[in-house]
Amino acid sequence: MAPRLHLDKPLFYALVLLAALSLAILYSASAKNEAVTLAHFVRLALGFAVLIGVAQVRPELLERSAPWVFGIGVVLLLAVLGIGVISKGAQRWLGFGPLRFQPSELMKIGAPLMLAWYLARGGLPPSPLRVAGALGLVLLPAALIAEQPDLGTALLVAASGMFVLFLAGLSTRFMGIALLGAIAAAPVLWHYLHDYQRNRILTLLDPTADPLGSGYHTIQSIIALGSGGIYGKGWLNSTQAHLEYLPESSTDFIFAVFGEEFGLIGVLLAVALYGFITARAMLIAFYAQDTFSRLLAGSIALSFFLQFFVNIGMVVGILPVVGVPLPMMSYGGSSILTLLAGFGILMSIQTHRKIVEF
């Protein structure tokens, strides 16, 4: 067979379209800051290069490399905590000369990769012993990341692992018990939250209670969206962002600017695009032919959706302000690379399928 480029076209085009949208809205949200838009473009371009590269790798190779990727990730996390206190206090980075690198980003892929590998070896549904082992494997990196401290990423890594467990057929009884446990533990967790974190949760119940502090983000974000109406105010016409009412308008709250400028029509288009990407990713998981690929693809799909949902939920005021960026769109952070690498894995799984169907 002649060598061909392994790419899943529907997914690829949807991602490119999303990237184009993100550049347009970032240009507006950053008040026409060309440097910012260009930096975002460079990150996207780099991300797509990684995506294309990863997509050419055979899933078997991915599977074999899982323990190594995971192991290296854990070692790097330990290094960050221990010796690698590189850039004056910001403990998330490891420096290699001019390059900087966040091991916690690697773990966003490393953790589901490892869990898929581990659970696929034992057959489905996983035995209680294997469930315990899997929990250990996901909680170790999550705890290390939380220790940095980077709670947001820690929770995402933990969630990506939980998705693998869920898809592997974790018993419903176990999930029920875990849910009850979580509810019981909530007051304890509450106790460990910082004041500002508590405020953000309380704000959700009544944003007007603290309109200058933590409620301010939510109020301004909702005003931005609501004032956009059906047709929006038009590109570059967001008053909320340009008159500086909306903080973090090019990062966590970029979707509010999007909704203000493009209205419901734009929002529906964006949600449809995110929905399509999620659906396509889940379909790839469905078509995948071995347990490892299925679990991994499913987890990547659901993690992507989770980030999207948490961010939009925060922008529309139904979730607390937690600082999760909108995948692909939010400026800054090094997560675009990881995200697109994940989609590269999906494409690898999709395009390296054996032709034989059972």
Binding site: R92, L212, L225
Partner: protein, 632 residues
């Protein structure tokens, strides 16, 4: 995938597909929730929010708090805030930046460096924000700008409080400095807590005590017109100023120590043994922290980085040196404690070298002709190497490492500064881990503080203070108290015990004190030079750390060795011996011998602490008091 039975494969497929189906339903439901909410906001409530958006005239403007001040133990200001006029630009409101800067250049002096760092900041800070083009405008310049201000769109003249270190580089390695908030800083802080603030502690105490120093940002609710311009203030929540820090450091002692080390690379750490209070924390060369406050210009930064003396390195905290003969006092105590439990003839005849049985390799004594008959006391006083070679063999490497660990070597001291180095305490287990065997020769050189062992000047000072405190090791602390600048409510930080040296016989401390005192006051003591006119009793120990190995049979020749390869000079001491008030460790890089280069520096620091200045010329204390200086 095909190595599992088909039946299992189908079963796994079924399980997975069921779960994927559930997840799909979940995804659809959650998307629906979002859509319902969005339709609610954008269609049903649209008019309400459109009105709010139109009427959005009240904007919260953050009001930055004043950063806490830093004082020395006597109230001398080490870090303060200075109101300065800064010329700031909101880049998003400027059409032609180059034209604007050219226009401003005609009004005030703007260097190329100013412009460069401004443009760098514009690139780094994506958000709608004031970016300073020049700071420290004088009254004239400010007036010239103020007159033209209505014509200069996007330009603002602000009076801002800016960090200033009035004593320049004094104690810069302890204080650290503040700098502009960078993108990396933004990732680790709560951004809302820093709105309106432009600086953050980057290093040293400014970094370690950021949470106390920063204060809380206030807020002004400002009414604006439809273009976002401020009209009037409606309400104001005042900021809460940061807390003032009081240090244990005495600026005068610090200055004396820095002057004593001036022109050399080295470190001095002085500690109050009973409390762990750090009286002086010196690393030289120093540099001026003020240069970093507004972002140092690249040329000056380059110069600091390229300086062969590496002023940016914090030698007291991060410099790791072989302790040389200073370790002999710790092993001396181990010797006293071991007593008859080890096989050691304590009357050693030193011929100037030592060989292990069955080996021809010679471990030399620094004194080629040897010290003759020496006991432990004489071995410490004259720093005889051969005695300690023999002692090391008798004690064994594990015991030696364990004993040094009691004094805090090989561990962080727990000082209130970030990123402390813990040195290196080698042991057979440590070497095994690196896949290398431990040779008897390793034990021998460890006996005189050479080989892979590394200590920081801070650790040396803590260990010396531990001796002075008879085994009780206090955690070194730079900060003694913090207070609310308004209410003056003051919180004193309590000293902490970091460890304890277990001794069988407390009288052994007295013997060790006598040994160390004779180093300074004894006729043959290696540091007798600084004991001659001391009006108080000093206990000390000299040390010399080899920088470059010397071949078998060759001699170290200071004159013909390039400066960078000369030995490091070390000295540790505490005083007064009867009731120690200061313990000090001095390291002079490539300084040569500890007695000549390091001990006089320690003496000046102790004089400053105990006498408040240089000692008056007096006859030698030993001659006056006639105290016996023998041990045991």
């Amino acid at each position: 995938m095909l190595n599992i039975p088909l039946k299992d494969y189908l079963r796994e497929t079924r399980i997975f597909n069921t779960r994927l189906g559930w997840a799909g339903i979940g995804v659809v439901l959650l998307v629906l929730v979002l859509l319902v909410r969005i339709v609610w906001l954008q269609v049903i409530e649209h008019r309400h929010y459109a009105t709010l958006s139109q009427a959005n005239r009240v904007k919260p403007i953050p009001v930055p708090p004043a950063r806490g001040l830093i004082f020395d133990r006597n109230g001398v200001v080490l870090a303060q805030n200075f109101p300065v006029y800064t010329l700031e630009i909101v880049p998003e409101q400027v059409k032609d930046m180059d034209a604007l800067i050219a226009e401003l250049r005609e009004l005030v002096r703007i260097t190329d460096g100013d412009e460069k760092s401004f443009k760098k900041l514009v690139r780094e800070r994506p958000r709608f924000e004031n970016i300073p083009l020049r700071s420290h405008l004088n009254e004239d310049e400010a007036a010239r700008i103020a007159v033209r201000l209505p014509l200069l769109q996007g330009v603002e003249l602000r009076a801002r409080l800016q960090r200033h270190y009035p004593l320049g580089g004094l104690a810069v390695h302890a204080l650290g400095y503040v700098g502009r908030i960078s993108e990396q800083d933004l990732e680790r802080i709560d951004r809302t807590a820093y709105r309106g603030l432009q600086h953050i502690g980057k290093l040293g105490l400014e970094y370690a005590y950021e949470g106390l120093l920063v204060g809380r940002v206030g807020v002004e609710r400002v009414e604006t017109n439809a273009h976002g311009r401020s009209l009037r203030t409606l309400e104001r929540v005042a900021p809460v100023a940061g807390r003032n820090l009081y240090l244990n450091i005495d600026a005068k002692v610090q200055a004396v120590a820095e002057q004593a080390l001036a022109g050399r690379r080295g470190a001095v750490v002085a500690i109050e043994p009973a409390t762990g209070a750090v009286l002086a924390f010196v690393s030289t060369p120093t540099f001026d922290g003020n240069a970093f406050v507004n972002g140092i210009d690249p040329a000056s930064y380059r110069a600091l980085l390229d300086d062969p003396d590496k002023p940016l390195i914090n030698r007291a905290l991060h410099g790791q040196y072989a302790p040389g003969s200073t370790v002999k006092v710790f092993y001396g105590l181990a010797d006293l404690e071991a007593g008859s439990s080890i096989d050691m003839n304590r009357n050693v005849y030193c011929t100037g070298s030592f060989s292990l049985p069955g080996s021809s390799h010679q471990f030399r004594d620094w004194k080629r002709e040897g010290h003759g008959h020496v006991t432990r006391h004489e071995a410490i006083v004259q720093s005889c190497d051969v005695y300690f070679y023999r002692l090391a063999i008798a004690l064994g490497p594990d015991h030696m490492a364990d004993f040094l660990a009691f004094f805090g070597f090989g561990q962080e001291t727990g000082i209130d500064l970030p990123e402390e180095k813990s040195g290196l305490l080698p042991s057979p287990a440590w070497k095994r881990k690196r896949g290398q065997p431990w040779y008897p020769g390793d034990t021998v050189v460890a006996g005189i503080g050479q080989g892979p062992i590394l200590v920081t000047p801070l650790q040396l000072a803590v260990a010396t203070a531990t001796i002075a405190n008879r085994g009780l090791r206090a955690k070194p602390m730079l900060v003694r108290a913090h207070e609310d600048p308004i209410t003056k409510e003051r919180v004193e930080l309590t000293p902490h015990v970091a460890g304890r040296v277990p001794v069988r016989n407390p009288r052994n401390w007295d013997a060790l004190f006598a040994d160390m005192m004779a180093v300074v006051h004894g006729e043959r003591g290696t540091a007798r030079g600084i004991g001659r006119n001391a009006p108080y009793h000093i206990a000390g120990k000299t040390g010399t750390a080899q920088v470059r190995g010397i071949a078998q049979g060759a001699r170290y020749d200071e004159k013909n060795t390039p400066e960078r390869f000369r030995d490091h000079a070390l000295f540790i001491a505490f005083a007064p011996v009867e009731s120690p008030q200061i313990a000090v460790a001095v390291v002079v890089e490539n300084g040569g011998s500890g007695s000549a280069a390091a001990a006089p520096i320690a003496r000046r620091v102790m004089d400053e602490v105990l006498l408040g200045g240089p000692a008056p010329a007096r006859p030698p204390l030993a001659a006056r008091a006639g105290t016996p200086l023998t041990g045991e």
